[in-house]
């Protein structure tokens, strides 16, 4: 197991680039969009991106799984939707996948 305190230079460099890219998005809108304005089309595209990327990550992951993963995924969705409690949804989902794998 890796040393808990290790800071690998390439890893730190990527983290720094992630931090810079994120900060740029956080300040860029106030700085830029209020000067040049943004069309409805661009706004719609920017708003669709996070969900689309989450779905793009999730799709192939679920496709690689089986019925146990699909059922447990549904459990997570239902709990997250009904309770809004993310931690509860994750714990229930992980418990469900263990149970479904044992049964199926």
């Amino acid at each position: 197991m890796a040393d808990p305190l290790s800071l690998d230079p390439p890893v730190v460099a990527v983290i720094a680039a992630m931090a810079a890219a994120t900060y740029l998005t956080k300040i860029g809108g106030l700085w830029l969009l209020t000067r040049v304005g943004v069309s409805d089309r661009v706004e719609a595209a920017l708003e669709a991106l996070p969900g689309a990327i989450v779905v793009a990550v999730l799709g192939p992951e679920l496709a690689a799984g089986g019925p146990a993963e699909w059922l447990a995924g549904s459990v997570v969705a239902v709990v997250a939707w009904r309770t809004g409690n993310i931690f509860l949804a994750l714990v229930t989902g992980v418990g469900a996948v263990v149970a479904f794998r044992a049964v199926l």
Binding site: M1, P4, L5, L7, P10, V11, V12, V14, I15, A16, A17, M18, A19, A21, T22, Y23, T25, I27, G28, G29, L30, L33, T34, D40, R41, V42, A44, A45, E47, A48, L49, P50, G51, A52, I53, V54, V55, A56, V57, L58, G59, P60, E61, A63, G65, G73, V76, A77, A80, N85, I86, F87, A89, L90, G93, V94, G95, V97, V98, R101
Partner: protein
């Protein structure tokens, strides 16, 4: 000091209101009380954020990051979904360009959120604005918009609520690494399922009714096809780009 500041601001406001039509929200103050109000209001929400933080820590541990690296990432990036996606893309060697591009794309929405704060933030100094924006996340942005539109004039609310999120996000990330570290075989406890579970929960949270259905379907199909054809993580970028293009065309 606050008295003279407020005096100057009020004067500035009264001269501005005559000229600037979009000045309706009025001048806002940037005070300790606003920081405290934001922090306290956001605490219950920050507890929810910690749920993702633990999941992120577990995933980061499995991706091979150390405690120090996870703490550094959470403290400096402070953008949950993008960090979870980043450690999912993590490999050896790190696909740096893909990771940073994905992070940038996922976080582009912050540009719109930051721009929405302008009616109030234009009354604040550069360091107040650009310092506060570092601590902007989805949850505390929503709380801040609610607070400011109600006419509270607490310009420091975003900073205070963001600090609450920051503290819980960093602490829960580290806790997640500890949880991941004590378990040898992740599959025994279903920990290999944390990623899928986290993304399902993220998707439920991001679902915005029928308007989301078309871009998501396009992203899903594109990602599934791309994953079959290309190795690596191109399906993530492909799905995102395809959905963005569809939205641009659809709103035409």
């Amino acid at each position: 000091m606050p008295t003279t500041d407020e005096q100057t601001e009020r004067n500035a406001e009264s001269t501005e209101t005559a000229t600037a039509a979009d000045d309706a929200p009025g001048a806002v103050a940037f005070e300790r009380a606003g920081i405290r109000a934001g922090f306290v209001t956001c605490l219950p929400v920050a507890l929810g954020v910690a749920g993702y933080g633990i999941a992120f820590g577990v995933l980061a541990d499995r991706a091979g990051l150390s405690v120090a690296e996870v703490a550094l990432m959470s403290a400096t990036v402070l953008a949950g979904a993008s960090q979870i996606i980043a450690v999912e893309l993590w490999a050896d060697p790190i696909p740096a360009a893909t990771v940073v591009l994905a992070v940038f794309a996922v976080n582009l929405r912050y540009s719109l959120m930051g721009a929405a704060l302008r009616p109030w933030f234009k009354h604040l100094s550069g360091s107040q604005v650009y310092g506060s924006l570092f601590f902007m996340a989805d949850e505390n942005w929503a709380l801040t918009m609610r607070d400011l539109t109600s006419g509270s004039r607490r310009g420091a609310f975003l900073l205070g609520s963001g600090l609450a999120i920051w503290v819980f996000w960093v602490a829960s990330s580290v806790a997640g690494v500890a949880v991941g570290g004590v378990i040898d075989d992740p599959a025994t406890f279903g920990l290999d399922f944390v990623l899928v579970a986290t993304f399902v929960a993220l998707a439920v949270e991001l679902w915005d009714g029928a308007s989301t259905a078309i871009p998501w379907a396009v992203a899903l199909v594109t990602a599934l096809v791309t994953a079959q054809v290309l190795s690596g993580q191109w399906h993530v970028i492909g799905g995102g780009v395809a959905a963005a293009v569809v939205e641009v065309v659809r709103r035409g």
